[in-house]
Symmetry: C2
Subunit: 340 residues, 2 copies
Amino acid sequence: MRYFHFCKLPGRVMGIRLLRFTSVVIIVLLLVAGALTALLPNIKDDKMPNLRREPKTQSQSALDSFTLIMQTYNRTDLLLKLLNHYQAIPHLHKVIVVWNNVGEKIPEEMWNSLGPHPVPVVFKVQTVNHMRNRLQNFPELETKDLALHMISKAVLMMDDDTLVSAHDLAFAFSVWQQFPEQIVGFVPRKHISTPSGVYTYGSFELQNPGFGNGDLYSMVLIGAAFFHSGYLEDFQKQPEAVHALIDETQNCDDIAMNFLVAKNTGKSSGVFVKPVDIRNLEKDTNSGYSGMWHRAEHLLQRSYCVNKLVNIYDGMPLKYSNIMISQFGFPNYANHKNKM
Amino acid sequence: MRYFHFCKLPGRVMGIRLLRFTSVVIIVLLLVAGALTALLPNIKDDKMPNLRREPKTQSQSALDSFTLIMQTYNRTDLLLKLLNHYQAIPHLHKVIVVWNNVGEKIPEEMWNSLGPHPVPVVFKVQTVNHMRNRLQNFPELETKDLALHMISKAVLMMDDDTLVSAHDLAFAFSVWQQFPEQIVGFVPRKHISTPSGVYTYGSFELQNPGFGNGDLYSMVLIGAAFFHSGYLEDFQKQPEAVHALIDETQNCDDIAMNFLVAKNTGKSSGVFVKPVDIRNLEKDTNSGYSGMWHRAEHLLQRSYCVNKLVNIYDGMPLKYSNIMISQFGFPNYANHKNKM
């Protein structure tokens, strides 16, 4: 705004000139406003590849939004079905699809032709079909604020065959905000010590490590969980033996992440949020491909990984927890009414 | 252990003297050990009034044990039934019974005649029958460690008509250890803002303060909850108007404590642990007395208290939460099995 200096003129003349002046200013401002409105960008962006336009949530605090990372192999039909669901989750900032279909074109044209989409989706083409591709510290995760400070954000990592309801995700995200240094997710697992000192990996069928008083978990799987994006950077800095183990087994990246988080925090690596509506869609795929966990050696491999990681890290950092978090009064308040 | 200096003697002589010496030392140690075993204190203590003997848990970290404070009025039959239950809860250090039966003798003789008891129980005779008697900073709460440092401990506060199972209490205590600055308990309540700015107090029947997505609570009642004993000291330091409000209504001490904790932490005052087995025994009493909450004006009084406290503190410090904590896999692992 420019400041105008007014000459000292007699009162009445001054008054009329002021009136004329302010009228002109108002008219000019209205014209400018009209021009700006006409110049607002058109929403349809179908000519822009990859939708790199920043969404309106840029001013949102970095802790208030998350990036979905979904790795996909040989189940593009499930991927697209899930993207239609996940793209609309509250507080989602961006989607990164880790494209493990080496040599196959990403469905970018189709994606764009079916725009607009609520958030940007980036397809990251991979050169090898490796499990740990999804644990790269993707540049797309970094956001800089207006002062050009780097802001880390939450990651939601989902397997490409898992559907979790919007309510579950919104709630679990709010729980992650209260436990930002832990993996907050929907799938708990445990390790068991045996007298021989050899560990075994498993789920609820496995014995309690405690005294018969309920169950315990010591890991939360990252295939349906929130965690701090800084852990991806940490993961890249882990000993080469860890990366080699994951490459050798094409498995256990999630166990390795739990070791990393437990070592980092000295607490249990995960916080389990009990899902109300979680669905495995693998039966619905047309590809016939049904996921790594169906391999005969899958669970034995994971026990193997636990023991290898204990060797690599020279100790067992995982800690047990029996905290199970649910959403108060959801779906209805019957879930907390006292029977007193 | 004394260190013996050995003269430098020729080898063989040295060897025999050493052998004799070590044999003597071993025999002496065995005799001493035998003597100590014989001198171990006898468990039966039925001649000691009030059982002020420190329990074996004195070396236990102060965060690993709690003191039960139970205020009682006109329901001695329930009190005694509950004491038989609560005295055996794991990690209980001591019981303080706040005896509001003014002019009536405490059942000390009967209590002692039915000893021994697992923990010390102290009867604190009150001179007036006041609701906030239970919020005194009782000297019995203080424990000094070997270096004479003051150690604060957890308080479990229970109404004298409420039975909570040992499993629930053991679990909730472990949860309190993870949230030591909050009130961790079994009874959630909420306040609601209305457009007029006047607050209302209530439970799940009251509208959601949110957007229809589940329920919220902003208080955890202290009549069945763990909290840090330091808050009792804090409570005594609150403005006189707070104490006067509780005396005027003979109600709302728990609401006042939630205000205090919320102001202190800037977070939600409570963490709700969903009880598996909680029972109200008030129908079982022979006294015919059925508790303050049956008074017609009880809930209106509590809304009144919320508004008065907002005036006194010049603001509403209570914060909402929707975190509900349950024990993973208890009573059985069906409570967390995925239906995927």
